[in-house]
């Protein structure tokens, strides 16, 4: 058995590598942005003229908040790409379930017979 590990492509990276994390300052900035985005969401909700486009606005704003927390507070931005590789596809499937149920039940089945 050869013990020369350098020959193999799957040779692990150093297991104890200290990943540089965000600074306290970055965390505070993210919190600031999160607050602003939330205020924007609520503001958009109360502005009558925005009602027709409220759904896309909310999707974008909440998506941005979601991404910020995941990237900075959950460190996906700093950590090994493998974690993103695991979470990303599962999240996509989660979205798929929501949309599929909406289409198959809410859209295709119509409303129930009213009593």
């Amino acid at each position: 058995m050869s013990n020369n590990p350098t020959a193999s492509p799957a040779e692990p990276v150093h297991a104890h590598e200290e990943v540089p994390r965000g600074t306290i300052k970055a965390y505070l900035e993210v919190a600031g942005v999160l607050t602003v985005l939330t205020i924007l969401e609520i503001w958009a909700f109360y502005v009558p003229s925005l009602q027709p486009v409220l759904i896309p606005i909310l999707l974008v704003l909440s998506g941005a908040k979601f991404a910020l927390v995941v990237m900075f507070y959950m460190h996906l931005k700093y950590d090994h790409l493998a974690y993103t590789g695991i979470f990303g596809p599962l999240l996509a499937l989660a979205g798929f379930i929501v949309i599929a149920l909406m289409i198959l039940i809410a859209y295709f089945m119509g409303s129930p017979p009213t009593a």
Binding site: M1, R21, I24, T35, F87
Partner: protein
């Protein structure tokens, strides 16, 4: 036999089977032992399910028979299916074969989380016993393994039978998810150095994809079962039309699980066949890369075909067409696999072992089942076949003639490795031929019966429908098959008592498990192997020169020094935790106070596991001498868990959205939700995430005091959030929107309530860490423990971000 068997038998000094007394099995965390326990348990349940099947066959042998009452027949067919799927084929494929073969094939000393592995087994055992214990309390479950709503509602199925079924499946689901998470992390992170994904044995590929499928398929089932339990216990109407809901929701959630599930049952079988056929054809597997991609593709597509079980519900032409197309598409990667096996067989130099015979029969029978599958992938044809014995024939060919036959091939194949004994080939032949002939006698005529109009799930039928002959024939076949299985038991006992000792490498194998003694030592590999190609052990034995075998590679370890390897210590917490969980179930059907005791035990056992090892938070792998893996397994596990949890919430959110606007009476979201209050709690939860990262930063700096204070502050904000929620729920209740009032009430409380429950668990988690830090149990080097608590906390936060905008802000405008 034509196999070159090394003369001397290499025996492990520390045989995993004989180390320690009988009691040591209760606290074992060794994957090989856990595998053996899975195997024995599944075998016992196979006996039970087989008994139920024979009883049903006797009943159906003749028209107008009275061997079983209609009621008993319903119980038997329900539990036969439930048992075979959840307690036999799935635990055999993943729990048994996954445990005894996968870690050895990737050159690992154990799975990533040995105690979690034990936990999965014990939860599985207790969950199974729990479900079957219903026969002491008024009978076994009797609404089918698919549990179609609204038959399962309390109104149509009173008594506690279906309670045992639903809660039992919830418990079993926890076991499956934990087990799959463990295997996933193990395969992703713990392959021997040099074993790239494209050098992994195909069996490992299949276990990997099957594990992913468990992680994505069980959350929808869990949600479906939660709704069912709520309907039965709390009087909600998730599946009944009285409040505007539809029983079809159950079918979507169930088959969203159910079809991936059939591949969870099939993939390990594909993997076994892909090991057995090359080995006994003395050729490498044909088209390795195609095989690997086909495996992944099957996994992917199988998540988008569930509707083919629902053609008869009238989903409409668009949905029908989409599901028909995706279902036919899945036949393509499946076909690739069949071609690969056939091409591997082509001009092979066969070794006619029993294992090989089973593999050959698998290829034929599975293909037959696959072909009928493509037939009823077409909606108009399915309308003829669905609900008939044709379907029964189809799934028994893929599951019985497919998965089960593959498992028997695998059992004969790995038995020498597992037990250190050879099986008697003569008994093996008898076992094979009786089982194979009996199987085909039983199930082939069911195609005729189905096309002749015989419906499935009936307990008897009238004379003169031309069904008599084939039914009697099937019954005789079933007894032939049962006799065959009896010979399997005889062969196993014979081998254990009188079988010759097995060499390390009896089949001249290709993969790493054959490089270590039979049975393997406790630590598996004295030295973690380095891998340079696929078929790693073959390469070690022969290099590039098939004629010249490097002498006795297997004996290498025997000559070397006694390795100093720390294997994971045994633990009593897994079995305790599982018992606590079982108590929760018992409490739910008996006396709610028992559930509280169960929860307390679960909590204490989790804390026990968390702080059991003094090295927790450092790299425990260092102690095991295999500090060589690229990632931290626990963090991979945490992210996988979070991903799986996302699917759980997606099923809840999907239901909320799907039922939106179907209410028959108000008030609904539009009239009742209060934005100012919720905006405030949203802000509170967001800020708690900030405090959480500050806490983690504190622990990482070694400033324990600051870290602890931030933890308390985070938990405090969590409590404020929960307080807001309690206020809101209370207010709605007083305005008449109870859990049972309308669809909005039940979906809203369930979704938001489950989120609140997660916040509560998070608060408990963080407080546990904070208090533990007083006792110096969370030093700087264990900051990772805080990081995991934090990841969970942030996850709860991002779920809320979605709920806030989808449920609160959007609901006020739409749906009017």
């Amino acid at each position: 036999m034509a196999v070159a068997v090394p003369k001397e038998v290499v025996k492990a000094r520390e045989n995993y089977l004989t180390e320690g007394g009988l009691l040591s099995w209760l606290v074992t965390v060794d994957h090989k032992r856990i595998g053996v326990m899975y195997g024995l348990t599944s075998l016992a349940f196979m006996g039970l399910a087989g008994f139920e099947a024979l009883a049903m066959r006797i009943q159906l042998a003749q028209p107008n028979n009275h061997f079983l009452s209609a009621d008993l027949y319903n119980q038997f067919f329900t539990m036969h299916g439930t048992t075979m799927i959840f307690l036999v084929i799935m635990p055999l494929g993943l729990g048994f074969f996954g445990n005894i073969a996968m870690p050895l094939q990737i050159g690992a000393r154990d799975v990533a989380f040995p105690r979690l592995n034990a936990l999965s087994y014990w939860i599985f055992l207790f969950g199974a016993l729990f479900m079957y214990s219903s026969f002491l309390f008024g009978g076994l479950p009797d609404a089918g393994w698919f549990g179609y709503a609204n038959l399962t509602e309390r109104f149509f199925t009173p008594g506690s039978r279906e309670d045992f079924w639903a809660i039992g499946l919830l418990i079993l689901g926890i076991s499956s998810i934990l087990g799959a998470l463990n295997f996933f992390v193990t395969i992703v992170n713990m392959r021997a150095p040099g074993m790239t994904f494209m050098r992994m044995p195909i069996f490992v590929w299949n276990i990997l994809v099957a594990s992913v499928l468990v992680l994505v398929a069980f959350p929808p089932l869990t949600v479906g079962l939660v709704f069912l339990v709520m309907d039965r216990f709390l009087g909600t109407h998730f599946y009944s039309t009285v409040a505007g809901a539809t029983p079809i929701l159950w079918q979507h959630l169930f088959w969203l699980f159910g079809h991936p599930e059939v591949y969870i049952l099939a993939l390990p079988a594909f993997g076994i066949i892909s090991e057995v056929i090359p080995c006994f054809s003395r050729k490498p597997l044909f088209g390795y890369a195609a095989m690997a991609y086909a495996t992944a593709l099957i996994g992917f597509i199988s998540y988008g075909v569930w509707g083919h079980h629902m053609f008869a519900t009238g989903m409409g032409p668009i949905a029908d067409a989409a599901f028909a197309l995706s279902t036919m598409a899945i036949a393509i990667p499946t076909g690739i696999k069949v071609y690969s096996w056939v091409a591997t067989l082509w001009r092979g130099n066969f070794v006619w072992t029993t294992s090989f015979l089973y593999a050959l029969a698998f290829v034929v029978q599975f293909t037959l089942g696959g072909l009928t599958g493509v037939m009823h992938a077409q909606p108009p044809i399915d309308l003829q076949q669905t609900g008939s014995y044709f379907i029964v024939a189809h799934f028994h060919y893929v599951l019985g003639g497919g998965s089960l036959f593959a498992f028997l091939a695998g059992l004969y194949y790995w038995w020498p490795k597992m037990t250190g004994r050879m099986m008697n080939e003569k008994l093996g032949r008898i076992n094979f031929w009786l089982t194979c002939i009996g199987f085909n006698m039983t199930f082939f005529p069911m195609h005729f019966l189905g096309l002749g109009g015989m419906p499935r799930r009936i307990y008897t039928y009238g004379a003169g429908l031309h069904w008599d002959f084939w039914n009697m024939f099937c019954t005789i076949g079933a007894f032939v098959m049962a006799t065959g299985i009896l010979f399997l038991l005889i062969a196993m006992v014979e081998s254990l008592t009188r079988g010759p000792e097995a060499p390390a490498d009896p089949w001249d194998g290709r993969t790493l498990e054959w490089s270590i003694p039979s049975p393997p030592p406790v630590y598996n590999f004295a030295e973690i192997p380095h891998v340079h190609s696929k078929d790693a052990f073959w390469e070690m034995k022969y290099g590039n020169n098939p004629g010249h075998k490097v002498p006795e590679v297997a004996a290498e370890h025997e000559a070397g020094h006694v390795p100093h390897i720390h294997v994971p210590a045994p633990s009593m917490f897994p079995i305790l935790l599982a018992a606590g969980l079982a108590l929760c179930g018992i409490g739910a059907v008996a006396w709610l106070r028992i559930t509280l005791v169960g929860l307390l035990i679960v909590y204490l056992a989790i804390v026990g596991i968390g702080f059991e090892y003094p090295t927790y938070g450092e790299h425990p792998s260092k102690e095991r001498g295999d500090d060589i893996y690229p990632l931290d397994s626990r963090k991979v596990g945490m992210w996988t868990f979070i991903g799986s949890e996302s699917l759980f919430f997606a099923s809840l959110i999907g239901t909320y959205m799907a039922y939106k606007g179907r209410d028959l009476i108000g008030p609904t979201a539009k009239e009742i939700l209060e934005i100012p209050l919720t905006s405030f709690s949203t802000f509170v939860l967001l800020m708690s995430s900030l405090l959480m990262v500050l806490a983690l930063a504190g622990f990482e700096r070694g400033d324990i005091k600051a870290g602890r204070n931030w933890l308390f502050a985070t938990a405090g904000l969590g409590c404020i959030f929960l307080g807001g929620q309690a206020y809101e729920f209370n207010k709605f209740y007083h305005e008449g929107v109870t859990l049972q009032h309308n669809l909005f009430g039940q979906t809203f409380y369930t979704l938001v309530g489950f989120h609140g429950l997660h916040v509560l668990l998070g608060v408990i988690w963080l407080l546990t860490l904070a208090f533990a830090s007083f006792k110096d149990m969370v030093p700087k080097k264990r900051a990772l423990a805080v990081e995991f608590g934090g990841l969970y906390w942030h996850f709860v936060d991002i779920v809320w971000i979605v709920i806030f905008s989808l449920v609160y802000l959007m609901d006020k405008v739409t749906g009017a």
